[in-house]
Structures are given as C-alpha cells and as structure tokens.
C-alpha cells in the first residue's frame, strides 16, 4: 500500500524554487532515504510534508487522503511523526514526562477537556510512554530532568518523543547530526532495532553515506529541489548523474 505520495509538489521562496515538481512515493514498511548536496531542498521537502510550510502548488497525500490544508498537529494525528535535526525536547520536564506528552497526544487526541482528571489515572498513556522509553533505552533515566541528559541521550529522547506519538510514518531529519562516532553508532543501532521491533515506515534525511547505504531500502537523490535519481542503494552507488551532482565525481 502506498503510505505517502507527493504529486507535482512545488515550493517557491520568492524567485528560488526550493522544491521543484517532486513526485515521491513511500510504500508501507519501506525505509527511504533522501540525500542530496546542501541546499538541495531536503529539509524543505520534510517541512512541506509535516505542514510546517505551505506548498506553492501540488498535492501531498497520506493513506490516500490529501493533507494539504491540515494543521501540523492534525498531520501528526493522522500518523506522520517527525524527529527534529536538533534535540527538540521539553528541557525542564523529566524524561518520562517528555514521552508522556507525546503518548497523551497519541492516546487522547489533539485536545480534550480533562482538566480536572488526575493524570495518575491515564494508564494507557503511562504504558505507551514506558514502552517507548524502554525501546530507546532511557527507561532507567525516566526521572532525570531532560536537560541534564548528555547530548546523545537527548537525541535518543527526541527520537523517543517521535515514536511515542505512535506514527505510521516517521520522518527523521538528520538523526545523527552533531553526534560523536559512538553516539552515531548507538543511534544507528537504535534505528535498526526500532525498524525491526515496530515494523516502522520511515523517511530519513541524512548526510552520513555509510548510514544511508546500510539502512535504506530505497534512496532518493535531490538536487536543486528536484529528484535526479532514485533506486536501491546499489543502483544509486553506480549512478553517474548522482556522482556528478552530489560529489562532483568522487567515488561513493
């Protein structure tokens, strides 16, 4: 089943075409990576899908329904979650509360009137939060204030928040940016474990080619806002247009 598709998607900033007629499809259970040189329009594409930006023209469909015209939180409620490029967490709350906020939105919807209900009674929310923290390996840190975590753990928490939203599709914007080699390795392990355990569909934007080639089913190459190639890691590795545009001919 096709989970996500964009149809002739265009985004212009003044005279600059940041996204140029992109037709992208993501099938269920697929791991797709988006690569491209700086300024290729990767982040813009992600921001269009999460409704942070309005497209100039074209359509985005999730599970067959257009999501253009929805608010960002509505897109999340439909099942598209995003992990941010930086550790976008709730710094003064505990690790557990960080996960619970996302679980609350997943279990109880975007809004409710339960302001006189004690949150100890929300067992479903606690369950989801606990499972998520367990799967990102932060359960033993649950009572730590998030801002006291080391950077690598903050990024894991960031991914945990995205997972606690119980998405069908997870968009990851450079999950290993700014990480040490050890942190990068443990994050890749985390992504592979999550992919195994949750059978998650995800779209990954990443600079680190080693990661991209090791965990993707399919790679989409963007350049100057448009798709110049797509295919399996092996196909992309041998693609001359990609080498030309992306690395100026350097062997991948």
């Amino acid at each position: 089943m096709t989970l996500l598709e964009t149809e002739n998607l265009v985004k212009e900033f003044g005279g600059l075409v940041a996204t140029d007629d992109v037709n992208l499809t993501v099938e269920e259970d697929e791991r797709v990576s988006i690569i491209g040189p700086n300024g290729a329009g990767k982040s813009t594409l992600i921001n269009l899908i999460t409704r942070r930006l309005d497209p100039t023209s074209g359509d985005i469909r999730f599970k067959g329904e257009s999501i253009v015209g929805l608010e960002p939180h509505q897109v999340v409620q439909r099942g598209v979650s995003k992990s941010f490029q930086t550790a976008s967490i709730f710094p003064d709350l505990t690790v557990r509360e960080n996960a619970e906020i996302a679980a609350l939105a997943a279990e109880r919807g975007a809004f409710g009137f339960e302001f006189l209900r004690h949150r100890d009674s929300l067992t479903d929310v606690h369950g989801v939060a606990r499972d998520t923290l367990d799967s990102v390996g932060l359960l033993d840190r649950a009572d730590t204030i998030a801002t006291d975590l080391p950077y690598g753990d903050k990024r894991r928490l960031e991914i945990g928040i995205a997972l606690a939203s119980e998405p069908d599709l997870l968009l990851m914007d450079e999950p290993t940016a700014g990480m040490s080699p050890e942190e990068t390795k443990s994050t890749v392990d985390l992504i592979e474990r999550v992919k195994r355990d949750h059978g998650l569909t995800f779209v990954l934007v990443e600079h680190d080619m080693e990661i991209v080639f090791s965990i993707s089913d399919r790679i989409v190459v963007l350049s100057r806002g448009g798709i110049i190639a797509e295919g399996t890691p092996d196909e992309i590795r041998g693609n001359e247009a990609v080498q030309e545009a992306y690395l100026g001919g350097v062997e991948l």
């Binding site: 979650s81 709350l93 997943a106 302001f115 009572d143």
Partner: protein, 393 residues
Amino acid sequence: MSEKDANPSAKDALVGGTLFGRWEKLRGREGTVVGITAILVAVFPYLFARAPVVSGFLQGYQSLATLILIWGIFAIGFDLLLGYTGLLSFGHAAFWGGAAYAAGIVAKNVSGDPIVMVVSGTLFAVLLAWVLGFLSLRRGGIYFSILTLAFAQMFYYMAASPLAFLTNGENGLTGVEVGSFLGVIHLEADVPSIGGMLLGTWLYAFVGVFFVGAVAVAYRILNSPYGMVFRAIRENEQRAEFVGLNVWRYKLMAFIISGGFAGVAGSLFTIHGAYVPLQSLFWTESGDIVVMTVLGGAGSMFGPVLGVGLYLYIENIVSTIQALTIPFTGIVLVRDFGFYWHLLLGVVFVAVVWVVPDGLWGILNRLRELAVDLGSKAAKRLRARSENGGGGQ
C-alpha cells in the same frame, strides 16, 4: 549520571524513617495540600490581626487579610497562564475589573445574593476571556501581551465614558448592596465564638472557602493532563504541536481558566468593598498581578500568594509608617518613610528577581532543601551512634 539517579533513593532510605521523611511523602498528596491550606486560611486572620505580640508587630487588620485572599485567588489563576503556560498577559484587569463590574451591576439590578454575584461575575469573565483569548492568541510573544493590554484598556475607556450609564463612569460603581448569604448570614457580621476569634467576619469565611476551592482546583489542573501540556507548551511550543497537540486550543483554555480565576476574585472584590472603582479596569491592575506573581515565584503553586501578601502588605501597612526609627530608640532614619512605599516595593522586586529568580517561593524551597540535608545528616549521625552502642553490648 547514574550517581544522580541513585541519589534520591539513597536519600529516601536515609530520611524515610524520620518524621521529616514521612512528611516529605505526604507533602505531594492532594488532600494534604488542600487540608493544610484550609488550616492556614483559618489561622491567618488571627495571627495577622488579633494574636497578641505577632499582630501588634505586623499591624495587620481583618479587611486586609480578606483582600490578600482575594488577590491570592487572582494570582493563582494568573500563574497558571504566566508561570505554567508561559504566556504573559498584560490585560487581566479586564477580567478582574469586568467581573467586579458584572457582579456589582447584577447586585444593583437583579440580586444582591453573594453567590449570584460570584457566579455572574465569573461567568462574565470566562466569556470575556474566551473572546479576548481567541483574538489575542493569534499572535505570540510580545505581540500577544500588547494585544491583551490594548483590549483591556479598551474596556477601561468604555467603562469610563460610553458605558457610564451602567458603570457610573469616573466615580466608580457606588451603592452596591450585598445581600446576606443564604438569606440569613450577614457577611459583615462576626463569626460567633472561637470561629470569630480565628476567622473574624463571615466575609472572610466566605472568601476563605473560595480560596481553598481555588487551591484545590488549581492543584488538580496542574496534576491533570492539562498541567503537563501547559508546561510542554511553555518549554517548547513547536515540539508540542509536532507531537500532535492542538497547542492553540490548549493555550486558549489556559487563558480562559485563568480568566475564570480572575473572575471569581473580581466578584469577591466587589462583595468585599461594596464598591467598584474604575481603577479596577486600569492597566496598572494588570501590572500589579504580574509583579505579585513574579515576586512570589512564577511557576509555583503558592509562590504567587506570598507575592500578593508582601505586595499588599507594603502597599497598605508599610505605606502608613510615618517615620522609620531604629527600634527602641528615638532616632529617626527616614522621615515620611511610608511615602516611599512604591520605591521600597521596586527595590524588593529587583532584589528578589536578581538574587532568586524563582521568587519568594524559591527562597522557601532552598531553605527546605537545606533543612532536609541537615535532617538527613543528623539522622545518619544518630543511626551511626546507636549502631555503635549496639555493637558495644
């Protein structure tokens, strides 16, 4: 990191056996919080206005005790918005004054029953908060604050002139006659016997019940999903939106809830004074509540009430001091000391914000932590001594 995690449990084990440890466990429970609040509310006017020595030193009086509770309700609600949700409204005078006028107008034209006055004033404030929140929350940050200020000032000028037939304009709403509670109890009368010694007037008891209720409701809200969502919005609004929460509606609810608290307080203010000054809608009232909340400690449940207490104390009692003398001598330090109460308040405010940004409540918290530390050290020493003693036999 693991050290830090291990720390609290070690501390629990150490403190757990002592009386203090048991208290620490009870401290967070809802019933405990509300119960202790009720006890403090009951003894406060006695200590403040009637107890030997203490009240003589404080120079408090009954009516000011009532006023502190009324503003306390206002501040608790305001802090839900400012301290917990991170939204600085500069227009809460609209809800405070609006409710005060609504309660007064209802008393003059429909019924002077105090319950009817509170309900109608609160209802008016909630509806107004809904409309103004809907309009102001379209913008964030400083623009939000300015919009709330502008709307509130609009109401001030409307009450001053175009609506003078309702509000009595510049003179304020006079001739408000507050009826008796349930048709039998006159609120100005003293509570009989020991209740009278503690509480003083029925009015204080009436306001006190609302105050305890406000604490109970606010405490429950903070422990509901809302409390968590509010803090999430304060911490990282964008992330809250991107986990799938309708941030806008939650912000509107925070605004309406705090408007509701302001409404209860504003209505009680009319009952307390049997008069509504036009001043109650002026922007300085919005500023006062911000100062009180920050002074006491924004983002804490009881801090703002302390801020209210200190602010009103300086405004009403310190301001009456003629000359500041060195105690037990006749040496005058500052003549017309009370005249400078605004300056004194400003200095206190700056000092608190500078030294302890989490306000008076932050100071108390630090003292408490110090006490826990000393307590656990003492317990450790005691245990070590008794173990040594046991080994000797």
